[in-house]
Each structure stands twice: as structure tokens, then as C-alpha cells.
Symmetry: C2
Subunit: 337 residues, 2 copies
Amino acid sequence: MTVKKNGQTLVFSNPPAVLATAAVVGPKEGEGPLSGWFDVVKPDRLLGMKSWERAECKMVEEAVTLALGKAKVAHKDLDFYLGGDLLHQIITSSFAARSIDVPFFGLYGACATIAEALCLAAVLVDGGFATHVALASSSHHDTAERQFRFPTEFGVQRPVTAQYTVTAVGAAVVGPPGKGKMQITHATVGRVVDYGQKDPMDLGAAMAPAAADTILAHFQDTGRAPESYDLILTGDLASVGHPLCVELLRRAGLVLDGRFVDCGMMLYDETQETVAGGSGCGCSASVFAGYLARNLEQGKFRRILLVATGALHSTTSAQQGESIPCIAHAIVVERSG
Amino acid sequence: MTVKKNGQTLVFSNPPAVLATAAVVGPKEGEGPLSGWFDVVKPDRLLGMKSWERAECKMVEEAVTLALGKAKVAHKDLDFYLGGDLLHQIITSSFAARSIDVPFFGLYGACATIAEALCLAAVLVDGGFATHVALASSSHHDTAERQFRFPTEFGVQRPVTAQYTVTAVGAAVVGPPGKGKMQITHATVGRVVDYGQKDPMDLGAAMAPAAADTILAHFQDTGRAPESYDLILTGDLASVGHPLCVELLRRAGLVLDGRFVDCGMMLYDETQETVAGGSGCGCSASVFAGYLARNLEQGKFRRILLVATGALHSTTSAQQGESIPCIAHAIVVERSG
């Protein structure tokens, strides 16, 4: 048996299809530049539920149901559900898995979770362990802010390096090679990288070295040039972290042009007061499941490299003065055929 | 391509080997009935570190290093590290992954994590995506108790249904079929099951239905009889949950005899004041990596079914009055050849 791995990069010999995706977002995300690309924009963040946590779970269930419907995959034909989110013990994903009611793998990769899930879904399908795998990654502004920072009701002022946790879910259904309009061809699995940054109000700077590490590994492993991709997207480095990543890559000899962008900088415009930009497990997940997937399906993009980025700290580690270990996983998604 | 899955059960056509395991435990676990089966018993729970969280991380690093050494797998030949633990944002695993320094998949399955990790490691190897995968699952009494219940210094009295979070790590290295003395032949991936139990001081009762669900699925999918296994072990249902699981299985027509035991009931004896028994991600992980692996290697056991059990709640969900969704994943490990 041939090992389908070169360095950190898995090469899918029979690229699993992305049969369908769905993005469900909150009101603020629905007012941003990518508004038209999402499946559902919610008018408020509570959705009539008794807690924000329930609202986030509801959005995940809706996104997964939508994606399964678009993919025309019935519940009985769904082998696994993979999910992760920012909340302690990933309760959003676990509670959503209760109603999705198929064998469940819980994942934690912070804001890199969507790429971890797409990678493992592709592994399960390409390895012959599954026919259809559903996955989702989510975040919710209020559930995350009160857990990691301050309850939003406090109105605490944020430093300029801080990012705004998005209210958004990205879901996808991965299936057999040759089906659907998109396929996953490669996954570069990240190592944990930590340059000693300790400020949880500046996660972009903490994550930039992890993103650069995975991007460099990807191009070395595949031997590709940046021009192989229509877009190369970091997950949520935002306006402080993305330029740092550009600089780290430049020093390593890799110069990326205007095709190198960041999902956290694409979700909002400057009038929306999100300080450095968006972040959260739903950030790159919803940009992928909305904007990127639609443009791949419509043939505007031929191939993209999504480098989802995650900061793997907790409030405990931050309060204990530990630095912030970070990770980035890269996924190549291209138009089929 | 044949799908290697029947119902919820993956069947590994070329069973990946468990090349080596290592169990590192705390002092209390080292005084229990399984004492002689662990690789390292620590004399205290702080290990000279400045925080219990650092001590837990140190124990994980030590267990993984030990397992890699026993397996004679060099760092350059290690493809992936898979890890999970109980702490918010799985900081133990993420910080350990920083020093292990290979591509990392973060997992969250609560106390079922060891089985989730063994399953995904086997998937990666059997699917041809990796040659060697290291994995670990850990818990630490003081880090978990202060996060989920009360700081241990408070000396809060515990109800009789409560379990005692173990200080323990179980690590393993999974590798190519035909190597080593143990192999993973099947994995039954659990669904999230929730019977509406809301008391986080009685997790055994919450998890029992999930364990029964996965055990029934396993025997239905494989067509095997319980006699196929020398031992069938739940993870940490302990003395309240295990009899409930026995009863749920009996009502479903499956009567298990004395070979049906629980890792949480094996780790301590009645003099150790652990109330209902042990729990935590390190519970079934250390029983597997110590007692079970040694007995499989020595030929005393021919084949075991480990049904690791996890409660997927958080303090947030408990405080919001939500019930406790649970999961159980089952792994078949047998002596090779």
C-alpha cells in the first residue's frame, strides 16, 4: 500500500467530493461584504431561544440539515458527523450531534477546526471507511465573548489588536470521488507553533507563525507555485496577523501576491467596528461554505488553498501566564472535472 | 473500493498494530489494584511544576515519549499525534503537541477520547495516510476537579454517585499491520445518547445508556457473541452506572457475564475513598495502556472490547439546566498472530 503522504501533506489519490455546503450566519455577518454568499442570515443572535448557546446549536443543526438536503443525502446514508466549536467541551457540536444522531467524532482545533474536519472527512471517505460524512464548525459572538473575554453586555472597550468573534456556521457534506462539483485533493496538517506571544487580545499575531509554517510546508510538500491557486486564504489572522504572516513568508523566500487574503478581513467592512477583523471557528468555515464553495461551484475559482488558523489557549492557560500555542491546517479544494 | 463499515462498526481489513503503549499515573492510582501494570507512578500530583496543568502536560509528554521509545519509532518517522483531555480547549493535549512537534489532530470525546483516538489512528494507518501515529488521552484530579466541580483545597463532600477524576495518562503508538504484538481489528463509533439526566455529580447514570447503545450496535454489526472477548470493559461508568448498563443490556436481550467490567471500578479499591469509582480521560486510557496492553502482549488476553464512555456536558450547559449528552466508542484490540 502506498502511503498517501508527503511531509505534512496528505494527497488524496481519489479526491473525495464536497457534495454540498451551507453557511448560516448572524445579522452582522449578513450586513458585511460577503452577505450575498450565505444560505441563511439570521435577523438576531438569540433566535428566540433561551440562551445564546442554544441559538448556536440551532444554527449548526440548520446548516447541517441544509447541506444534507442540498447533497441529497438521506439520514440513513450518512455515516459520520464531525464537529467542533470554541465552547468549553465543544458543547455546541456535542448537542448538535445529539439531534443529527449518527456516529460522531468530536474535534477541537479552535478556529482551524473546519480544515481539521474537512481533512478527516476526506480521510474517512478516501480510506473507504465512509460514503458520506457531514461536518460543521461554528462560533457565536456572545457565547464566545463571555467565555473568553467579557460578557458583551459589559460593553468593554477592545484593544485595536482584538478580533470580533463571528456568529456563523459552515457545514459540508463530503462524499464519493467523482460526485459533486468540488473535491478535496490535499490536506496539509499543521504542527503546533508557539512564538511566545501571550496576549489573548492579539491572537492574529500569535497565529501568524503557525499559518506561515503550514503554508511553507504545503508548497514544499507539493512542489506547487502560489499561482496554482486562485486564492490562498488564512482563516482569521485579521489585519494585525495577516501582514505578519506575509512578512514571515517573505523572509522564508515565499512572496505571495494579491491572491493571499484572510477570511477574517473579508467578512466585515471598516464601518462595522470589528477592530482587527473577524475570528472564531465559524469565520473561515462560513467563508468556505458560502463564498468559496459558491465560486468554486460556479467555476469562477478553479482551485483554492484554505489555511484555517487556530489559537489553542484557554482562559486557564492565559490566566496562568502561558503563551499561546497555535496551529494551522491547509486544505486544497478544487472544481471537479 | 469496499466500504470497511458495517452499521456503526469499522472493520480494519489490514488491522493496524498497536506497537507500544505507556501508562503514567499519579500516586493514588499507583496505590490501587492495578499498580503493577503502569509504566510510571508519580510520587505526587504536582511534579515540581508551578501548576497542576503543567504537571498534567508533563505526564502526557512522558507517556508519549515512553511509548515511542518502546515502539522504537524515531521522531522523524512519526506522522501524526492525536490527543484529547478534559480541560477547556484541551490545553493539555495542545501544549503537549507543541513539544511532540508533529502534525496534530486535537480531539474531544470527554472520557471516550482514548477510543476515538485509537479509532482515528487506525483509520489513518489502514487508509494509507500514515505509517506511525502517536496518541494520548489524559486527566488530572486537580485540574479537572477545580474546573468541573470545586477546587480540591475546599474539601467539599461528594455525593455517593460522584466519581473521582483519575490522574493518569494512557499513550499508544499505532503502526503498520503485522508489526507488534497487538492489533486493532474493529471500532464501533458511538452516537450521542441523552436520556435526560441532568446531575453532573452522577455521570455514570448519564453515560450508561450511551455505553449500552454502542455495545448493542457492536454485537449487532459484528454478529459476534460476548464469548468472543476475554474482557468487555466500559470506560468509567463506575459503581452506579455499570449496573444500569447491565440492566439496559439485559432488557435489550443481551446478558453479559463476569467478563463485563468497568475501568473506573478497577483502578481503586474500596479503602481509597473514591466514592463511585474513577473517571476522566485518563481512566480507561491508563487501564488500556497498562493492564490491558500488558496482558494482551503476554498472551493472557486474546481479545478485548474496550467501550470508552464520555459525558459531553460543560459547566456552562450544566448551569443552564441542560441534560448531559453522552457517547461511547468501542475498540477491539487483539493479540496479533
